[in-house]
Symmetry: D2
Subunit: 345 residues, 4 copies
């Protein structure tokens, strides 16, 4: 059994980790920390876990995380970089669901996240946990930077086309939409029900942290200079993420060949579902599951290809992907404990 610790279990990615790990056949939940909720049974905060998770939150200084085999950080940016060095030294593997190790260049990180990077020496070693594009590296990793939710959809959607060299890498437009849970479990007016319900809006239009993360990764994989315009929006739904990706074809290629690029790329990736050409995926088809679905379109058969990508932002976009990484790191089949079928309706 893998002994698992979770730092920061009171947010949405934390409770989602608990939902997944509580039924994972190879996991023993060992510690969950929360400075504020020390002593509170987890199930008192999240009644969905009554009778299923018997742990209580413990203050960080009381929890001996070095006894864990792996520790997940479901924390704000900056926490993992402070604690990871010591854990790694003690032989504990670390999976950070925040952004601390996603961007290889510390100065770029600091520009976008406005905090100093306190563990730049780990940036080189950290493995970006996008399983479908980094599977082998993840297997041997000690430290995982779990991808951002939006970047997961953008990378998996654009990669096969960039790799094949059939689109203009300098001219990508990603129009993305997220459910409100992506904003986290924080007391803020902007995400109150009465503010966010029956409403639609964009945010971060002038520049969003997920743009450099995505561009840098796509450039690393493909060696092409990527120019990406990314616009995130807030949808009045709890879970779900939808990216509408636009690209200009630079070569004459028919739809079947485009489709074949995706099917070949993801044929061994059971959590990426390449739907038939022209399909219309819905976010709810992934609700609560680790599936990500992709469908290709070509409006009026012109030179623009539109890639539609859906996932559950809290599962494949966060906690599910983190568990997928953990499985690989411990030699388990990638899908272990991740077989939940989406809740529809």
């Amino acid at each position: 059994m893998i002994k698992v610790g979770i730092v920061g279990g009171t947010g949405y990615t934390g409770v989602e980790l608990l939902r997944l790990l509580a039924v994972h056949p190879q996991v023993e939940l060992t510690a969950i920390t929360s400075r504020k909720e020390d002593g509170l049974p987890v199930a008192d905060m999240f009644p969905s876990l009554r009778g299923r998770v018997n742990l209580a939150f413990s203050a960080p200084d009381k929890a001996d995380l070095t006894k864990c085999d792996v520790v997940f950080f479901a924390t704000p940016h900056g926490v993992a970089m402070a604690q990871a060095p010591e854990l790694l030294k003690a032989g504990v593997k670390v999976i950070d669901l925040a952004a601390d190790f996603r961007i290889k260049d510390a100065s770029v990180f600091e520009k976008w996240y406005k905090i100093p990077h306190t563990a730049p020496e780990l940036l080189e070693e950290a493995v970006y946990g996008l399983v479908e594009l980094n599977r082998e590296q993840i297997k041997g990793a000690r430290l995982i930077a779990n991808p951002g939710c939006y970047p997961t959809t953008m990378q998996l959607g654009y990669y096969p086309l960039l790799k094949a060299g059939v689109i203009d890498a300098g001219n990508l437009i990603a129009d993305s939409k997220s459910g409100v849970s992506g904003a986290g479990r924080k007391a803020e007016i902007g995400t109150l029900f009465s503010e966010a319900s029956d409403n639609f809006k964009a945010y971060g239009v002038a520049g969003h942290r997920h743009t450099p993360e995505t561009s840098a990764q796509l450039q690393r994989y493909t060696g092409q200079k990527v120019g990406l315009i990314f616009t995130p929006h807030l949808v009045p739904m709890i879970r779900g993420m939808f990216s509408t990706l636009y690209a200009k074809l630079t070569r004459d290629i028919d739809n079947a060949a485009l489709q074949a690029l995706f099917e070949a790329e993801y044929k061994d990736s059971q959590f990426v579902d390449v739907m038939p050409f022209g399909s219309l995926p819905e976010t709810r088809s992934t609700r609560g599951s680790n599936m990500l679905r992709i469908a290709l379109h070509r409006p009026e058969n012109g030179d623009t290809v539109v890639i539609l990508v859906v996932q559950d932002n809290l599962v494949k976009g966060a906690s599910g992907q983190a568990v997928q990484c953990m499985n690989l790191m411990f030699g388990l089949p990638e899908e272990t404990g991740l077989q939940q079928i989406a809740l529809l309706p």
Copy 2:
């Protein structure tokens, strides 16, 4: 033109007052206070008001509210009782949308609201602003205690039956449901979209402040000792309030006679719509309007009568009712500026 001031304009009852008063033909909006937002144009916080309300918030000490003809308090409990005495002395009428003057007995108030009452000398004079049951008193009032949202539905729903003496006053059960805006515009986890959406729950089951308010008023009107069980619930919708009121008939009375009690009672009240017997009112039929709708039912023709009452909690349940009071206090037709038709769909 009536010069109007609003204390505490950053909450939902405040912005709703602005929506109604900005198009009120006899009103001149004069001052809106907010300690925190001093100097901020109101339309910057509420873009729905861009081009329609040109006022900025001003700090309480900068706003000379004594120049107003009437001041609305859209504030937390306790604010109006502190400021009303001085305003009244200056000849300014006061309408409090909070609970400060709703309960005549200061000790009952203090028990339920957990704050000392600092202006008990005004309790006797204060007029309870439930227009349909207190119209004449309101016309002459200087100080209005605007009713709570739930109490409005319960009083208007039970009153005709209690007055006629056909139900057991000691055995009333009110099962009420409110949209989330009733919880106000406060940064709290419990009313986040991701917590309140796709969910239903009760609250305040062991005892809620609106129970004593309602019981006391019904007793005042009818002289009967009222026994009321009241259970509020939270509905994943922004606006709307629905009360399902149960009562036991104590006399043999047919449905037409029951219906006639309501039609007679409210025949001159244009904001109370007594629907045909057996109708199924929907909250959305009142969305954004000052209408309250009532429908009577008698399950399997037994001795229980079920009264269904709907309203918009922010209009007839709060700001609309307050404007209705203002109209009467200033000799205007009751419906002035309150003719908005509900937004459906």
Copy 3:
């Protein structure tokens, strides 16, 4: 492996059976019928099942259901009664999710459902599938009448109090609220998003089919004449059911003793969670899971007890309960394949 057939798999209880049975370790999905969708892969209609359910719908006459060990009817009322006799004769067990066998008295059934009962000879044998109150009978049953969603909450909520004889059985008021999926997957204007969203309403106030079902069952268990007023309401959420149950205490009994009645009754029922006295259960704590949660309240410590009951209407209220019955009928542990944790948020 249990060979399972589903008649009528295109509705919400059908797809929910598929979600549960596709991961059930002892089940082999064998046939799923739909007259209209003959030949269509199930996953084309419900993309959440892509890669997980490979069956196609087949027309009823093409599917040899007699080869199944058990057949679920996720059909409108009237279908199971037509087909059950033949299946039972062939040695196939039958679980009907509709109402055909819920009411023992055919004339009562016909009065409320407005169709003639064509298999009254099976009514005596049919076992009412409310597991927690009928566990032993279900184990030996050939034919199960799966309970209605509302009746499940009302029976489990009232039973311990009626059994103990501490409440007035003739004076029960159940105010219940359901998510919209309870209305089924039918093209109707009333349940369109634009009609049902941001809205709340009651329906069936004058009399609803779940009243006689509930009353009759409670009378069978307890021998007491039950008088029940039941009011269902529609909540703008997909899944979830909430019943607020009111009863008058007839004996002096303290809260701890009330609580003990429930804890004793359900101590061996892992899908009934008796929460601490005074808890406030939320429907979302059961979303997608087979849990039903109960909490007791006593407003202002008077003589009314309020029982709050939540469940997912499609799981414990329908398909999950049906699978729970199947498990018992085939000698499996009751919880087999039903361990999903609720999706929160």
Copy 4:
């Protein structure tokens, strides 16, 4: 008083016309037709109108529409083209909210709408009712083609940039999102609450009727060949439309100059609100009002300009715009009866 008839008053644009016209100071509602609902009081179908609209639906053959001054067609495509010739002959003005007269080229219309055009002789005369770009023509019109909802946002968003010649007209990408009411009041599974809630999806990606309408109009105004990729999406909200418009700048121009183009263009258009550069408009800021709001962005100060446009799809996107046209056609101030402030929250 303008005598108004409405053909097809049972859909969402129909009831929205009623909401607006019932309080319009210069309108007398004269007839509302519905073949199916002949004789039914309008307020029985739409209880929001109880006490405000006393008309009943009448069958088309019973209503003498030739006595009206103007007739609105809130009907499916194809109805207005059948009835308009006769009404125009009788001196009645016609405003069609459907697409019959939006596209000047009958063959293009027939290609996209799959029905023959039966009144091509009126296409030349018909005036496209986008007030801000066609104001003078509308004043003199007998026949108005009210614009589609999406095209309204795209045209008003792109026009100032195209007119100034600062963007690449051949390379426009419009990613648009609509509330569910845009799908109309039709009994269909796809727009049921349980299907559309907590979900997000695209539709019509391969080609949508609003693309040719928009392209053709933008070409007419500007003389430039327009290349437009348009992707509509469905948002789980009742009302509201959001367009995220992307364009490539072809000239060196600073943000202030871009902003000035919009402010100059719409300075006399009180229903177009050009927000400060970099603003984040929300659909709810237009809920129930005739306002359309625009905000400009320039991601990372590159050569892409992003124009955000919001409106209420049923008001400025349909019925409000139609009333705005009517006002101009009858010499009234454009804003008459259209001063409703958006409902927020």
